[in-house]
């Protein structure tokens, strides 16, 4: 029995060790951990609108910790990338930076947590991130389960890419085509739905790996390849001869990419939403990163309201200052500038015509309530 006592001692020592590890972890991130959880206690359980008193949780937490924790990614061209110094950049990242600039006055005060697709729901449900901007498609079930979707900032959709040499100009000529596609995705599902609805036949060339799909397509093993249009544009820009490929205008699925915030915090939801409104309104009103200071003395009343020079766009209710939206615009530019930085004609990542991502005034879908 002495042997067992020795073993028991070993086990006790082992569990103490584990406990010590746990304790060390607690001290590593004390302030944010406790505060983050204080405000997430209710949201999961509470039904119906949250009381206003509980609302300011995330905003207060962000202000007191001095950083915005943003769920994103580092491996998608155009949306979430790294630069050589390890800084996060991309369309999705700039949306986080705009919020950080508005709330904290510093666009670099973000901590971007790289997430996989499977992570996105749980990090919102546990409020591990303050804001999720990781090309998330807004769907009804996600709205119900994950969090509150703010404003759609990018209208993506599944499209087709073909080579110029193929002579095909529209999807009507697709009957009997071979199509390169990734296996087991909604992309594949949408493709089959599209062909069935149009009474055409096709031969799918299916690959597990995304890069294999485009390698096969470039080698000419299929006439057509299909994916979200932003991805097609990004892949095309990497081809040896990008001009030899056309992305057809047709869009066969709806992928409204939208920043999300955790459920149950109205003030925070409003804050992020209004920052998105401001970016869109800024483009509409011609306020850019460069002229935002000069525009503060503009004679356009709408511009003055947006920049906090006239009236209250709601900042006093949210607990922000009048200059918050002006700071966001000064940090990342207006919607069009963000878009062009990564996906415009001289975009850093690729070139994708704005199409549905044009302002409503230019025939697109980008529309935001007025800021006043």
């Amino acid at each position: 029995m002495r042997k067992s006592i020795a073993l028991l001692t070993l086990l006790v020592a082992f569990s103490l060790l584990l406990a010590a590890c746990g304790a060390a972890e607690e001290t590593a991130a004390p302030a944010e951990a406790t505060e983050a959880m204080e405000m997430t206690e209710e949201p999961g359980e509470t039904e119906g609108p949250a009381p206003a008193a509980q609302g300011g949780g995330i905003l207060d937490k962000v202000k007191s910790s001095g950083k915005l924790i943003c769920g994103g990614r580092t491996d998608l061209a155009g949306f979430g990338m790294l630069d050589a110094d390890g800084n996060n950049e991309g369309f999705d990242v700039d949306l986080c930076r705009a919020v950080a600039a508005a709330v904290l006055g510093d666009p670099t005060a973000i901590e971007l947590v790289p997430l996989t697709a499977a992570d996105r729901g749980p990090v919102l449900q546990t409020a591990e991130v303050d804001m999720l901007s990781r090309n998330v498609t807004w769907t009804a079930s996600r709205e119900a389960q994950w969090g509150n979707f703010t404003t759609t900032m990018f209208f993506d959709g599944q499209g087709f890419m073909i080579t110029k040499d193929s002579g095909i100009t529209s999807t009507d000529e697709f009957d009997g085509a071979t199509v390169c596609v990734t296996s087991g995705t909604t992309t594949e599902q949408n493709l089959s739905d599209f062909f069935r609805q149009n009474g055409m036949s096709y031969e799918a060339v299916i690959f597990e790996d995304t890069s294999a799909v485009y390698a096969a397509y470039e080698e000419g093993r299929c006439d057509v390849t299909t994916s979200d249009k932003s991805q097609l544009a990004s892949v095309r820009s990497g081809f040896a001869d990008p001009d030899a490929h056309i992305i057809l205008d047709i869009t066969i699925s709806k992928e409204p990419l939208t920043p999300v915030v955790p459920h149950g915090d109205d003030t925070w939801y409003d804050t992020v939403n209004i920052v998105m409104f401001a970016l869109i309104n800024a483009e509409e009103l011609g306020v850019t990163q460069d002229n935002v200071e000069a525009m503060k003395t503009s004679d356009n009343i709408k511009v003055l309201r947006l920049l906090g020079q006239e009236g209250d766009w709601g900042y006093s209710d949210l607990g922000l200052d009048a200059d918050a939206l002006a700071r966001a615009i000064a940090a990342v530019g207006n919607y069009g500038e963000i878009y062009d930085r990564y996906m415009g004609p001289n975009g850093k990542s690729f070139t994708l015509p704005r199409g549905p991502n044009n302002l409503w005034t230019n025939g697109g879908l980008i529309y935001a309530p007025p800021v006043k």
Binding site: R2, K3, S4, I5, A6, L7, L8, T9, L10, L11, F14, L17, E25, E26, A28, A29, A31, E32, A33, T34, A36, M37, E38, T40, E41, R73, T74, D75, L76, A77, M81, L82, D83, A84, D85, G86, N87, N88, E111, L112, V113, P114, L115, T116, A118, D119, P122, Q125, T126, E128, S211, S234, V235, S237, G238, F239, A240, K348, S349, F350
Partner: protein, 405 residues
């Protein structure tokens, strides 16, 4: 006289065969071997020549050359890199000191690091990313290894000092890497920003270090006569061994957070480390149990006969023999743990592979250079795995001759 001469001829050791004879004996000794040789030699040569041509002429290594820091430390803030540098230098110094004290395998390892660093420091190619500061740092680290080796040879430097150094250094390095909230000189750097080789090393070294004691406890637990301890150990080992590492990673990364009480939060890297550790511990436990079973019962009876208690028997009789028997297996398992850490990519941690994927997406031109990036990552893994397997082979041969661990 003649008789003696013939005897001399007969006992002369067989001469090594000439190259022509070797070729005939080994490659063309019968018709099917001849056929195989004729087919395979040109194929192998072709693949080899093409690979070499690709590496040196066709391949475009810009993604790696332009972003060495991303591969090394990921997003760790560039103005705080000195913290990583000091940690690395400290470990290299200890490595050198251990080489001076123990020699053998540690000599090979220290020299390999020194050669790699010296090679980078003296690389005759002008590279923007390999600037003078970095070259000076690499050079001085080489110097530190040799200073360490010189110090290690001194009698005054006791083995215990170096071992204490090894125990303290990693902890100091980690604390240093994390930093302190509110301290201006060493501000807190969230593990979100850690990446690249740094994370790969921390996860595998941390996993190896932590899984060994846990595995030992589980192995003993499984042989225990206490039903609860035994039951728990068996349940843990068989559950973990029964599922793939991917499952455990997902479990810790996603499900654990949902199960934890609302007022607790666990760092993402820490969660991945826990998953890797538990996974490795279950396998280590089974390996150690194999060693425990290999110790003859007579040894334990003899220990009891001379009046040792259970604890002493375990510590002085069973463990040394058991561990010696299974150490090569455990090293082999650690090699696979090192490679398995690439799986943390699927829970969103930017280890070496994750950073590789990010680099591919940095610029449109890099999208087509994924082969180069993956080849580079494979080469890095191969180099480290090769050294570890050499180390394990060396351990196997020296184990039999040495009397103490």
């Amino acid at each position: 006289m003649e008789n003696i001469r013939t005897t001399k001829g007969a006992i002369r050791p067989p001469q090594p065969p000439g190259p022509l004879k070797w070729v005939r004996d080994n490659l063309f000794n019968n018709w099917y071997n001849t056929l195989l040789t004729v087919v395979l030699v040109p194929t192998v040569l072709f693949v080899l020549v093409q690979s070499i041509l690709w590496v040196f002429t066709k391949a475009d290594w810009r993604p790696i050359i332009e972003n060495p820091m991303l591969f090394a430390v990921g997003q760790y803030p560039r103005d705080q890199l000195w913290r990583v540098a000091i940690g690395l230098s400290g470990i290299m110094f200890l490595m050198g000191a251990s080489w001076g004290k123990w020699g053998g395998l540690l000599r090979t390892i220290s020299l390999s690091f020194a050669i790699v660093f010296a090679f980078l420091a003296l690389l005759p190619v002008q590279l923007e990313t390999l600037d003078t500061d970095l070259r000076i740092y690499l050079g001085s680290t080489v110097l530190l290894i040799f200073i360490g080796a010189w110090l290690g040879r001194l009698k005054a430097v006791k083995k215990a000092y170096i071992l204490i150094g090894w125990a303290i250094m990693p902890i100091i390095s980690i604390i240093f890497l994390i930093g302190f909230e509110g301290v201006e000189k060493i501000p807190e750097v969230s593990t979100t920003f850690w990446g690249g080789l740094l994370v790969t090393f921390l996860l595998s070294a941390g996993g190896i270090l932590a899984s060994f004691p846990i595995g030992l406890a589980l192995a003993l637990g499984r042989r225990s006569s206490l039903p609860v301890v035994k039951g728990f150990s068996i349940a843990f080992i068989e559950t973990v061994r029964g599922v793939p590492l991917v499952t455990i990673l997902f479990m810790f990364s996603i499900i654990l957070v949902l199960l934890l009480p609302a007022d607790s939060s666990l760092d993402r890297l820490f969660r991945a480390w826990m998953a890797v550790t538990f996974f490795s511990a279950a396998y280590t436990a089974e390996n150690i149990r194999g060693g425990l079973q290999a110790v003859p019962i007579g040894q334990i009876e003899a220990a009891k006969a001379v009046g040792m208690n259970a604890f002493q028997t375990m510590l002085f009789i069973v463990m040394p023999q058991a561990l010696r028997a299974v150490l090569p297996t455990i090293v082999g398992q650690f090699i696979s743990l090192f490679k398995d850490t690439t799986l943390v990519v699927i829970v969103g941690i930017n280890d070496l592979l994750g950073i590789g994927r990010s680099v591919i997406n940095m610029e449109p031109a890099f999208l087509q250079l994924d082969l180069e990036v993956y080849m580079f990552i494979a080469a890095v893994y191969w180099v480290f795995s090769y050294f570890m397997s050499r180390a394990s082979a060396r351990l196997e041969t020296t184990m039999g001759t040495r009397t103490t661990l």
